[in-house]
């Protein structure tokens, strides 16, 4: 289809998008959801399996307490109510990566429900309603062989590895989010970002989208102002923050072009393609399977009592947004400055540097200045630039003690990034310490005076400002290691000014 697509701004001027997000998060428990198999990555195929997660006849599931607690904590962090009584349900459909040909999930009795998450978009606070948070099991990994690029299309056979089958998977479903207008893509991205930070702060998952421990499906629909919501499509495998934004944007444009052409949107799942940034149709609602949910008879109901929930709630950490706000105040930053800290991904680094003894201003100066520049040059994350908060704090300590001036400190930092050791070691090894003892400097000063008689005369005749030139000369001969203040005093003293 090669019809030219309408421009985004022009589309959102005419249509109102409604978005919704369904996120799956793999929990970082030691063992799987219903068996004692380890969850660690990178094992040889089918080395993390047992009769239960292979779905062998006769095997039975037993729920993992840590996974239940992690889910309740996520629910609480998202301001959800926790079910007083709920059951697992079987979602029945045939697929080879699902050992039992049904998935143990939850249907109409989710563990957590009716919550919300506040996210900031351009300083604006947007409240995203959370419909439900429930627990289920992940599937195995299927390797498609014979086709091009390992895609399922054209594959002649597939190979299944069940190491990931049965990993606890938390599903977080938002309510539909209307009224975000042109900002819909940013809101979607901001929500997933905030959700990721919240879950990371709980320490229940490493939430790495690139590794698939956080996966996102995006629902999008368009309607004309004043009219009811349009038919929604569900875009699957959107696996980076950037893609979340792109997927919403491209789906808004695609739907608009269909509607503009007088067509109607079919309710279907669509697949997002990282490379092209657009979506292609998958299964349509008409052909969608009837999952025949029913209560899982092999697992008894969950009934978290108030005391248990209260205990988990009491142990919740400060939520990222509130934490960031507190830091901003402590550091005395403007919203704009805080934003640039966030964009640089420097919050935790600065926090740690301050904790190691540096002032917020100094810590921010190093991380956003010199180190951000190097990170950009070498194309690495700021956290991986090669300097630790501890080293940065130590470096700043040397500056404050007058042992390093700014120029020398940058040289020392180079050594740190190059892995030459601690700032102090590098300073001594490279002999970069500021020289301030007068004996050593007097010679250099006399040299400079002798070399510049006319400037010396000016100073003698009271033009003290001219001393700067001589200071510069001395700094040159001492390769910048002299302490400028001391040099100036010496010059004035020698010239009796």
């Amino acid at each position: 289809m090669t019809t030219t697509l309408p421009a985004y701004d022009e589309v959102v001027a005419r249509y109102e998008p409604v978005i919704g997000l369904e996120t799956h998060v793999e929990l970082g428990t030691n063992t799987k959801m219903f068996c004692g198999c380890p969850t660690d990555f990178g094992g040889e195929p089918n080395t993390r399996v047992c009769p239960v997660c292979l779905g062998l006849p006769g095997s039975l599931p037993v729920a993992n307490r840590a996974a239940i607690e992690a889910t309740i904590r996520i629910g609480l962090a998202l301001n959800c109510s926790i079910a007083e009584w709920c059951r697992f349900a079987r979602k029945n459909y045939f697929y080879p990566d699902m050992p039992k040909d049904f998935q143990i999930s939850q249907y109409d009795e989710p563990l957590c429900f009716e919550g919300y998450l506040d996210v900031e978009v351009n300083g604006e606070l947007v409240r995203i309603g959370i419909e439900r948070v429930h627990l289920e099991e992940d599937t195995g990994k299927t390797l498609h062989v014979g086709g091009a690029t390992g895609r399922i299309h054209g594959a002649t056979e597939s190979l299944v590895d069940y190491n990931r089958a049965g990993i606890p998977l938390v599903e977080i479903v938002t309510k539909p989010v209307p009224g975000t207008g042109a900002l819909a893509p940013e809101v979607a991205r901001a929500y997933v970002t905030e959700l990721r930070d919240v879950i990371r702060s709980l320490g229940v998952s490493d939430v790495r989208m690139e590794e698939g421990s956080l996966r996102c499906d995006v629902n999008t629909s368009l309607n004309l102002p004043g009219e009811e919501w349009g038919t929604r499509t569900e875009t699957k495998n959107v696996n980076s923050l950037r893609s979340v934004e792109r997927a919403v944007r491209s789906e808004i444009i695609r739907q608009a072009s269909v509607l503009d052409a007088g067509g109607r949107i079919t309710q279907e799942t669509r697949h997002f393609h990282e490379d092209t940034g657009d979506t292609t149709p998958g299964r349509s609602k008409e052909t969608a399977t009837d999952y025949r949910y029913f209560p899982e008879p092999d697992l008894v109901p969950l009934a978290p009592d108030a005391a248990w929930v209260a205990e988990l709630k009491a142990a919740l950490p400060e939520l990222p947004r509130l934490h960031r706000r507190r830091l901003q105040e402590q550091w005395g930053l403007s919203d704009a400055d805080m934003q640039s800290v966030l964009n640089a991904g420097a919050v935790e680094l600065i926090e740690a540097t301050v904790a190691a003894g540096a002032t917020p201003a100094a810590a921010r100066k190093w991380w956003l200045g010199e180190l951000s520049r190097r990170a950009n040059e070498t194309g690495v994350e700021l956290a991986d630039v090669g300097a630790t908060p501890g080293q940065v704090a130590e470096l700043q300590g040397l500056v404050d003690a007058g042992k390093l001036n700014d120029k020398l400190a940058r040289a020392v930092l180079e050594g740190v990034v190059a892995g030459e050791g601690s700032p102090t070691q590098i300073m001594t090894n490279r002999g970069l310490e500021v020289v301030s003892d007068t004996g050593a400097l007097t010679a250099a000063v006399d040299e400079a005076i002798a070399a510049n008689p006319d400037i010396a005369d000016k100073i003698r005749s009271g033009k003290v400002a001219a001393a700067g030139a001589l200071v510069g000369a001395v700094m040159k001969t001492t390769r910048g290691q002299a302490d400028a203040k001391t040099v100036r005093e010496l010059i004035l003293e020698r010239l009796g000014a």
Binding site: G55, P57, G58, L60, N92, F102, V160
Partner: protein
């Protein structure tokens, strides 16, 4: 002592002889293996005989005894295990083609406990495919024949275990009871079959038919043996979430108490709904005689109405197939078992469908489709959902009844063993065989069938139903009845 004699002994007697050293576990095992070799071509109770494993296990028991070790109450006693339980390295087929030749990489909890107790597993017994049936005619490996009359069915689904006992091929056997598959075969073969409280015996390694109903349990030729086996296999299992974390009631003591023939102070309720309709005259006659006998032993007997029991059969045939349709999905030819039609061109979906078509028998297919139907959106509420509500009402009938009486009694089955082939044409006629046993499964309580007489030379079973976790009560009453009517011996094969 000759080998035929050894096969006629009770489990208690065998354990005693082995413990005292008058005979060895190996001798006992050989005697039973010989008996199997002699008669099983006619009975077809066994799908797999593990002679090697059995003799090895028996040898261990003898060695432990020689070493002066303390042996358990059933050490050295042979046991036949229904092929529904996984046995590590030993074929487990569930009576189905789809698992032909499958050797599980793990033992079921029950089998583990049998091994730990020093019992000797002779092999795996025949059953209706996936325990779906009441005659063992639905086994993919041919029907089992009733030792009382080889032209008749031994009941089902656990006909193999029951027939093995009646044919003296084993003194003990394990069955599983989803709608009567332990009790009904017990009844028609003149043996004892006990369905424990749901959750009182572990389902781990029991190939699931209907998860909320399946209950493994003991089969024997007398009540005390059944109780001893119940004690060995019962008790909490952390690998089964529905396993009850409480000790099994002292069923052995209860059986011994009952054997004294005193039921003074015991109040029994005849289920009105089960004696009016359904049961054939010969069955009712034997049942009435037994009721009189129990009265003479001091039991007080009243009639109790359980109005919703008449809906138990339809509710059961919605709940069980629904769960089965999901439980049997995993038999897809991917990880284990049969695969058909994988010619390199066909898609996975086609191969799955051809595999299941070829691997499952007609009754299994019927139940899978009924269950799929009952769970489908649009039908769920009227069928599966409504059946679960009826289940609640049946449970309430039981609870109310047990406020009036200690246990409920009824015939185990409406009719004695019928000729092979008599009911296969009309699946629903077959379902009626479980009319009296199904309510117990829906409620989750224990039930036992004990022989109470003959009708035209064929055994009749007497059923005792007790409250959940009161399994001891039914053993006491069963043993008391047995003390009067005795045990029943089929004609020589």
């Amino acid at each position: 002592m000759t080998q035929t004699d050894l096969t006629r002994l009770t489990a208690t007697e065998i354990a005693g002889l082995v413990a005292s050293g008058e005979t060895s576990a190996v001798e006992v095992t050989r005697a039973h293996l010989d008996r199997i070799a002699a008669v099983d071509d006619r009975v077809n109770a066994f799908l797999h005989v593990d002679a090697e494993g059995a003799l090895a296990a028996a040898g261990e028991v003898d060695a432990r005894r020689a070493a002066g070790e303390e042996l358990g109450p059933l050490a050295g006693v042979p046991v036949a295990v229904k092929d529904v339980l996984t046995t590590k390295g030993v074929p487990t087929t569930v009576g189905s083609r789809i698992l032909e030749g499958w050797r599980p990489p793990y033992d079921s909890t029950i089998v583990q406990r049998l091994r730990a107790a020093g019992t000797v597993m002779l092999g795996k017994t025949n059953m209706d495919e996936f325990a779906m049936g009441s005659s063992t005619e639905y086994s993919a490996y041919g029907p089992t024949h009733n030792p009382w009359d080889l032209s008749r069915i031994p009941g089902g689904s656990g006909g193999g275990s029951a027939a093995a006992l009646a044919a003296y091929e084993a003194p003990l056997a394990i069955g599983s009871d989803t709608g009567g598959s332990i009790r009904q075969p017990g009844a028609v073969t003149g043996t004892v079959g006990a369905k424990p409280t749901y959750g009182g015996t572990s389902r781990y390694g029991l190939v699931a038919f209907s998860s909320s109903l399946d209950t493994p349990g003991p089969c024997a030729r007398n009540v005390l043996d059944a109780a001893l086996l119940h004690e060995v296999i019962g008790g909490h299992d952390p690998r089964d979430s529905t396993s009850i974390p409480q000790p099994v009631p002292d069923v052995v003591a209860a059986a011994r108490l009952g054997a004294t023939g005193d039921l003074t102070g015991v109040k029994l309720g005849i289920v009105t709904e089960f004696v009016g309709e359904g049961a054939e005259p010969g069955v009712m006659a034997a049942f009435r005689e037994s009721v009189d006998a129990l009265t003479k032993l001091g039991a007080e007997i009243v009639e109790v109405s359980c109005p919703h029991f008449r809906y138990a059969l339809p509710a059961y045939y919605l709940i069980a197939p629904s769960e089965a349709s999901s439980n049997l999905a995993r038999f897809d030819g991917v990880r284990f078992g049969l695969r058909v039609g994988d010619d390199g061109n066909r898609s996975l979906e086609e191969v799955m469908s051809l595999t299941r078509e070829a691997g499952f028998g007609a009754e299994v297919k019927r139940r899978i489709m009924i269950g799929t139907y009952a769970l489908s959106s649009g039908y769920y509420d009227a069928y599966y959902g409504q059946a679960q509500k009826v289940r609640t009402l049946i449970t309430r009938d039981f609870t109310a009844a047990f406020e009036q009486v200690d246990a409920l009694i009824s015939p185990t089955t409406p009719f004695v063993a019928f000729p092979i082939g008599a009911r296969t044409a009309d699946p629903y006629q077959m379902y009626l065989a479980d009319l009296f046993t199904i309510p117990t499964n829906l409620y989750g309580g224990p039930g036992i069938s004990v022989p109470c007489g003959l009708s035209d030379g064929l055994p009749v079973g007497f059923q005792i139903m007790a409250p959940t976790m009161a399994d001891d009560r039914m053993y006491r009453v069963a043993a008391a009845l047995e003390s009067v009517v005795g045990t029943f011996t089929p004609p020589a094969l």
